[in-house]
């Protein structure tokens, strides 16, 4: 049992486990100090960061839905400078790779962010392309291959770090988007970001969320996320970080079997702040029961 290893490497980043945290759901890690064991985490993916500080959306920002939640935080963040100058020195002590999730409103902003974050304290950047492309009529970068590819190229050109592209599930053909990402030079693929959804208050006749629509996450989306991981696994050879509704080790194992090289835990952090530790223990136990010693023994092993 003591030989079981969850250690892994993803896009050149050495990780103590294939369990990461999903952007926007784990703050900067500090908020979970009392519950998480950073030595069991593969990486902390911090909140979506932009060039300028952003105050996010007004009004109600979350709504609970059946087995899920909607959010329209609106990328509230202190801006990349504060991250680099104040936050990153503080969270260095966790000795855990830090991946910065970045969002721009133009292609150039992604390049600039990647460049600014090409620093020791940062292990990789993850491109959030679910945000509106202001120059192109506000359509999200991530639902159209061309704009997504320019964003990836802009980031790659400006950093020595691995560039992870986080795919939006709100597309017709996720495999095609993944192939485009591979062609554009991405080093790894995260999926899925949230599904676009909505909730309505039948007493006030108004949308529950201040921003009208929001991103659906949590167990409700797991079947869609798994299907997408599996489709992308068949389409590209890049490493995949699977996420979407992972609430326990069983869910994580489903993603590994479907082909995810690592997983990220999102909404579950809100429900059980120590969930990443529990998933770590659960994976060890599962491998032990199956007489396996290495997490890689199950990755992509779905017989379909």
């Amino acid at each position: 049992m003591s030989e079981i290893s969850l250690k892994t490497e993803l896009a050149g980043i050495k990780m103590n486990s294939p369990i990461m945290t999903a952007s926007g759901t784990f703050g900067f890690g500090e908020e979970f100090e009392d519950f998480a064991d950073f030595s069991t985490l593969g990486a902390i993916v911090v909140k979506g960061t932009t060039l300028q500080p952003r105050s996010g959306n007004k009004g109600i920002r979350i709504a609970e839905t059946p087995a899920g939640m909607l959010n329209c935080i609106g990328l509230e963040n202190p801006g990349v400078k504060v991250f680099i100058d104040e936050i990153s020195p503080r969270i260095k002590k966790y000795n855990c790779p830090i991946i910065v999730n970045i969002s721009g409103s133009t292609v150039e902003e992604y390049g600039e962010l990647a460049n600014m974050l090409d620093i020791d304290a940062v292990a990789a950047v993850e491109l959030n392309v679910s945000c509106p492309n202001v120059k192109e009529g506000g359509i999200a970068f991530g639902v159209e291959p061309k704009s997504m590819m320019s964003v990836i190229r802009a980031a790659k050109k400006n950093t020595h770090k691995p560039v992870i592209i986080k795919l939006s599930p709100n597309v017709t053909d996720i495999a095609m988007m993944a192939k485009a990402a591979e062609e554009a030079g991405a080093d790894a693929i995260s999926l899925i970001n949230t599904l676009m959804g909505m909730a309505i208050d039948i007493n006030t006749w108004r949308p529950v969320l201040g921003n009208i629509t929001g991103g659906l996450s949590g167990p409700a989306v797991k079947p869609v996320a798994l299907r997408m991981v599996w489709e992308v696994r068949k389409a590209v050879s890049l490493p995949i970080i699977g996420m979407g509704g992972i609430m326990n080790a069983q869910d994580a194992i489903e993603f590994f079997l479907a082909g995810a090289d690592a997983v990220a835990v999102g909404t579950a952090n809100f429900v059980e702040p120590d969930i990443t530790v529990k998933i770590y223990d659960g994976l060890e136990k599962y491998l032990g029961q199956k007489n396996l010693t290495d997490i890689k023994d199950i990755i992509g092993k779905l017989q379909a």
Binding site: E31, E64, N71, G218, N269
Partner: protein, 257 residues
């Protein structure tokens, strides 16, 4: 104010009963952790038993005793309705204590509560060891059924308002506040209740140049300052109600129009 490490406990329900005719319940939970030092105004994130409800529900700590905490809640929707069915002896997961509590530095405190906002004032009153006065308001006499006995021996003077005048003074708490402030020498007011009430009280105390703290409510996912569901704008910049609050200086916050 003491800062606590957070705990996450499978609490055991010791007592759980309807204490108010208007669907108000009291939940007494053993969290197997010393709760005595929890600050009045702090809250917990309670996981609704049975698994259907995804997100935790924020509830104020209304009282503490040894390793036990008391929560008082009203049935609002799915979560609280489901919670109300939890049996004595069953388990309920509690994350806490969250947020910052009320600032106790003052000599003559007045607590002002409306509806379920009265709940956290119970622990606050106890922290003031009987030296606080309370002004509480409800719709009618019937709704005073639960706070009256709870506050009986923990405050000095009790002022009561009901919207319909069926008990105490007729009208809203805030209408009677100026007179109460004029006739007493309070140096700090603590308010918890509907937003409109807190807003009005904040205005009045500002006029009287009396310190005032308010306890805000916002939808929360994490309760830990991570998800940014609960951000508000304040005069000191953006703050998180779950972590920087829920208690704020009344002069610090902007009440929505």
């Amino acid at each position: 104010m003491i800062l606590h490490k957070h705990f996450l406990a499978d609490g055991a329900i010791i007592r759980h009963e309807k204490i108010g005719a208007n669907d108000v319940y009291l939940l007494d939970i053993d969290i197997f952790t010393n709760a005595e030092s929890f600050a009045a105004g702090q809250f917990v994130q309670l996981q609704v038993p049975d698994g259907e409800i995804l997100l935790r529900r924020p509830l104020s700590i209304a009282d503490v005793s040894g390793s036990r905490i008391v929560l008082i809640y009203r049935l609002i929707g799915k979560g609280t309705e489901r919670l109300a069915r939890a049996a004595v002896g069953s388990k309920v997961s509690i994350l806490g204590p969250l947020g910052t509590g009320f600032g106790l530095e003052c000599k003559r405190p007045l607590l002002v509560g409306g509806g379920l906002g009265i709940a956290p004032l119970l622990l606050l009153a106890k922290r003031f060891a009987g030296q606080a006065d309370i002004l509480m308001g409800c719709k009618n006499a019937a709704q005073m059924d639960w706070p009256l006995p709870l506050f009986k021996n923990v405050v000095k003077n009790t002022f009561i308002t009901t919207d319909d005048g069926s008990m105490g003074m007729r009208g809203f708490t805030a209408e009677h506040l100026p007179k109460i402030l004029a006739e007493n020498s309070y140096d700090k007011v603590f308010v918890c209740g509907p937003e409109i009430m807190m807003k009005t009280v904040a205005k009045i105390t500002a006029g009287h140049k009396i310190a005032c703290e308010v306890s805000l409510e916002k939808r929360m996912a994490c309760g830990l300052g991570a998800c940014l569901s609960c951000t508000i704008e304040t005069r000191q910049g953006r703050k998180k109600v779950c972590k920087d609050g829920p208690v704020f200086n009344s002069t610090e916050v902007f009440f929505d129009e």
